[in-house]
Subunit: 202 residues, 2 copies
Amino acid sequence: MKIYNSSVAPNPRRVRIFLAEKGIQVPYEEVDLAQAENRQPEFRRINPLAAVPVLELDDGAHIAESIAICRYFEELHPDPPLFGVGAEGRATVEMWQRRMELTVMGPIADAFRLQHEFFKGRIRQCPEYAAIRKLDALERLGWLDSELADRRFIAGDKFTVADITAMVAIDFGRLSNIRIQPDQSNLARWHQEVSARPSATA
Amino acid sequence: MKIYNSSVAPNPRRVRIFLAEKGIQVPYEEVDLAQAENRQPEFRRINPLAAVPVLELDDGAHIAESIAICRYFEELHPDPPLFGVGAEGRATVEMWQRRMELTVMGPIADAFRLQHEFFKGRIRQCPEYAAIRKLDALERLGWLDSELADRRFIAGDKFTVADITAMVAIDFGRLSNIRIQPDQSNLARWHQEVSARPSATA
């Protein structure tokens, strides 16, 4: 078993933090995104969509998509639960994980990818939409600050995978100058707490 | 228990098909998207992100996000399994469900939302990026056709939630003239089969 990893991209960081929270060690194999190693035919046989991370199982199967990888390990190592407890609890965490991914991480990733030099020639870019997505992201941070007024973590009183997605997204936002604003004290308090966990440096 | 629904939007259709496959009946309450009922303060107390569907539980809790709702019912009614079987099987379905959502449904939704009159004044639009997303979507349909060359359904030999997401996305593509191309015979064969299931009209 191993994980195709990139130490510079946000999605692999989600998996590394998740595994660190679980105390699970899996060997990592670095994929050189700067050299577009992920876009070569060899890597596309592992993941046709050219994205990292990818989990390679001992039977040779490949599981792509960060959250699919995290769920796999949640099943094998349920403690501590990072996808919630009980049917309603798990649905709530799934809702928040998806909200963090689709409405926070999505705009933050677009704001970078759609205009940055790194993705030139790799994807179809659109600086106009990158600028719109930056506005979207800043708006969502304001909303998230208000959501965190009355609870400790994103999905409730326990740290979950939704916190991992939100932290990784917000940290990645710095590259596009998308930052927690001075008046967003709830978000700042939460960010300080999750960033202080040992897993944050994984 | 009830579900805030829209009979015209793609995401609620995913949940209706899922429930039909399970043989589960839940009362639906229509939200009038044309009248922007979902953007009013009353509905934002149910889902601050103003999206349908939303599941309302008997304890008053609200679960938004189609896939979170589907997962909730998968736990309560495991048969037939639509999220896979076993840790590796479930991770594989999750991977494919996410691929269908992020790389097929995402571009198809953007191609519509970012330029269509319906969303004018509701979201920040960008016709330039809508056109790019249409190209992305058409490219992804070509890829999906090649993936379906050697298997019956999106995630393997069983119908799963990944098929639901892909079918709903592709059907929604018609509004933006994103269609299965004449040479995509695998995709056409698959689409015909999933569309013939009784659940497709739910």
